[in-house]
Each structure stands twice: as structure tokens, then as C-alpha cells.
């Protein structure tokens, strides 16, 4: 009946060629490989970063050492309580561990990169400054003087 059926016989739907599907997926794959960074540590503390507007991006991930501060996650609260704890690498740590940790991180980097090493402090906004000050003192003693207080980017209403 239909004009398009040239032979008057109903044909099946033609199958779509999938030969370019791998190419598309590979393109996506490369996009993700280039634009993301590997997650190195599992964070055992829960933290909500403070807000700030004057933030600077941390340029090179390989030069950054992370220190997390916050209340332990639910599953650790039975063992560690709900007080703010410090996390270095994958483990909870005490203040005394910081110097050794920094020294270890220092050793891991190339000699040329060492002076550029930055310590990023990711702390919950409800943390008391006492613990942060203690960390700062330990960092000063460990000669890790470049510090970045990680913050969430605040959206500002431009008044001028």
C-alpha cells in the first residue's frame, strides 16, 4: 500500500551499524582519563569545607599532601568517638604523627619538586581552631610551610 514499499513487501527495520561504537566509547574514555585525577585515599572523616571567595587553585596534584580534619564517619564513631580527628593517608593519626608523615611525603617527591610541596588542609568548618593551630605548629616544625586551606568556592553577588 505504502508508497515507500517498493516491492510491496514489508521489510524489517534496518539494523544500525555499531562499528563506530568503540570509537565513541574510547573518545569518552580518553576524555575521562585526561580530565580527572585518581582518587588516592578513602576519607574516613566527614567534613564540610568552609566557604571562601578568594581561593587559588592547587596547580599540581602530585605536589599536594592532604591532611583531613573532621568528625569520624558513622562506622568509625563507635571506636573513635565523634570528636574531630586528624586523618593522614588512610589512617587516623595523632598530632605526633604529622612530622613523620611530612618527612615521608618529602622523601617521595623529586628533589626539584620538594620546595614546591604544598600541604592542603581539608577541615570541617565546625572544627575548633585549637586542633588546626596544633597542626600548623607541627607543620612549621616539619618545615612544610606552604599551606592551603581548602574551601568551597562561594558564589558572590557582584556589587560593583
Amino acid at each position: 500500500m505504502s508508497r515507500f514499499d517498493r516491492k510491496g513487501k514489508t521489510k524489517g527495520v534496518p539494523s544500525i551499524s555499531t562499528s563506530s561504537l568503540p570509537d565513541i566509547v574510547f573518545t569518552l574514555l580518553f576524555f575521562f582519563m585526561v580530565s580527572t585525577t585518581l582518587r588516592e585515599t578513602t576519607v574516613n572523616v566527614s567534613y564540610r569545607l568552609p566557604e571562601a571567595t578568594e581561593t587559588v587553585k592547587l596547580e599540581k596534584k602530585s605536589l599536594v599532601t592532604n591532611i583531613y580534619v573532621g568528625a569520624p564517619r558513622m562506622e568509625y564513631q563507635a571506636r573513635y568517638g565523634t570528636d574531630s580527628k586528624i586523618q593522614l593517608d588512610d589512617k587516623f593519626a595523632s598530632l605526633g604523627d604529622i612530622r613523620g608523615f611530612i618527612a615521608g611525603e618529602w622523601e617521595k617527591r623529586d628533589e626539584a619538586d620538594r620546595p614546591k610541596m604544598t600541604v592542603s588542609i581539608k577541615a570541617d568548618e565546625k572544627t575548633k581552631m585549637g586542633i588546626i593551630t596544633d597542626i600548623k605548629t607541627e607543620l612549621r616544625k616539619a618545615e612544610a610551610l606552604k599551606v592551603s586551606y581548602i574551601a568551597r568556592k562561594k558564589v558572590v553577588d557582584t556589587k560593583y
Partner: protein
């Protein structure tokens, strides 16, 4: 001779997409996209039992936060929104006020003529019970103040915003307006 004419059999490529998908999913799961950004600060070297350097009172801008997250500038209650403008006034001291920072006229490499450099230092004091969030808010306002000062100075000297300047000029501007924030050891603040 019939055998030779046979070409190598083609490898079935239909599972290529599946392999690529598995790789893709692996990368999506195991990586993060966000780049961290934060307030950058260089800590002072650790020195045992050092005497606090004597600084003229008019050259210090004391911002203190107590354990209830109340804010004070030079010992008087203040609002967070005041900090930035008070800081800028303190550093620039446009009317040569006796109570604001001293200025020193100096020549700085890369900048034509002499420039007025402030001797002012911001002293940020906090209690051990202060919230990190409140502390960061103040830090942010202070950094914002210094950034605006640099922007204004760059505009006046080079006619460009600070972040549009080249590296050498940025360094020169940084020398004129250093981020002079001193973080004292926490103490009891009433």
C-alpha cells in the same frame, strides 16, 4: 595454490565496545573531577622561644576572634563586613592619620618612581575554641582586602588589573603590597 589465496581471518571487533565500556566505567568510578582550591598561605619558620618583635602600635591591625566567634578589630567589636574596608583604610592611610599605619617612600624594581609602602601588619588572633569556619571567613576577608589593594594599585600604575599583569610586574606589586598577616599563637580572648 588454493591455500595461498586465503587472506588472514578478520578478528571479530564486536566486543571492542564492551571492553572500552568496562574501562570507561572503571575510570568514572575511580577518579574525581574536582580540583581543590583554597586560601594559600605561607607559614613562618619555627623558632624556639623567640621574643615578639617590637612593632609600633599604630602599625598593627589586630583582628581577634573569640570562642563565641565574635569579632574584634583593635579590641572593639566589629562586623565581618567591616574588616575589608577597615584593612584597606589602615594600609593606605589616605589622610596620614596618626593612628593608622606608617608609610615609607621607597623605590621598587619594576615600578616607576617611588611608591608609598605601608609598614602595617595584620595580626590575626584566635582562641582555641574558635570555629574553623569563622576563622576562614576572616582570612577570606583579609585576603580579599589585600587583593583589592593590589588591583587598585595595578590599575593606577599599569592601567591593568593585577591578574592581567605579567609575572615580573605581579612580583613587583606583591613587593609593594605584601600579604602581611601574622598569625599569633592562640590565647584566651575575652
Amino acid at each position: 595454490m588454493a591455500r595461498k589465496r586465503k587472506s588472514t581471518p578478520e578478528i571479530n571487533g564486536s566486543s571492542m565496545a564492551d571492553v572500552a565500556f568496562i574501562l570507561l566505567v572503571f575510570f568514572i568510578v575511580s577518579t574525581t573531577m574536582d580540583v581543590d582550591s583554597g586560601i594559600y598561605r605561607v607559614l613562618p619558620h619555627w623558632v624556639e622561644d623567640v621574643e615578639a618583635p617590637k612593632i609600633n602600635k599604630r602599625n598593627t591591625f589586630v583582628v581577634s576572634i573569640n570562642k563565641n566567634n565574635d569579632l574584634g578589630i583593635n579590641g572593639e567589636y566589629a562586623y565581618i563586613t567591616d574588616i575589608k574596608d577597615r584593612l584597606k583604610e589602615f594600609i593606605l592611610n589616605p589622610r596620614d592619620d596618626q593612628h593608622l599605619s606608617e608609610k615609607e617612600f621607597k623605590e621598587v624594581e619594576g615600578i616607576p618612581g617611588t611608591v608609598a609602602m605601608s609598614k602595617g601588619i595584620v595580626s590575626l588572633q584566635n582562641d582555641r575554641g574558635t570555629d574553623y569556619g569563622a576563622y576562614m571567613e576572616v582570612q577570606n576577608e583579609l585576603v580579599k582586602g589585600f587583593n583589592e589593594l593590589r588591583d587598585e594599585f595595578s590599575m593606577a600604575t599599569f592601567g591593568m588589573r593585577f591578574d592581567k599583569l605579567d609575572e615580573a610586574k605581579q612580583e613587583a606589586v606583591r613587593k609593594v603590597i605584601p600579604t602581611a598577616i601574622s598569625e599569633a599563637e592562640p590565647e584566651e580572648i575575652k
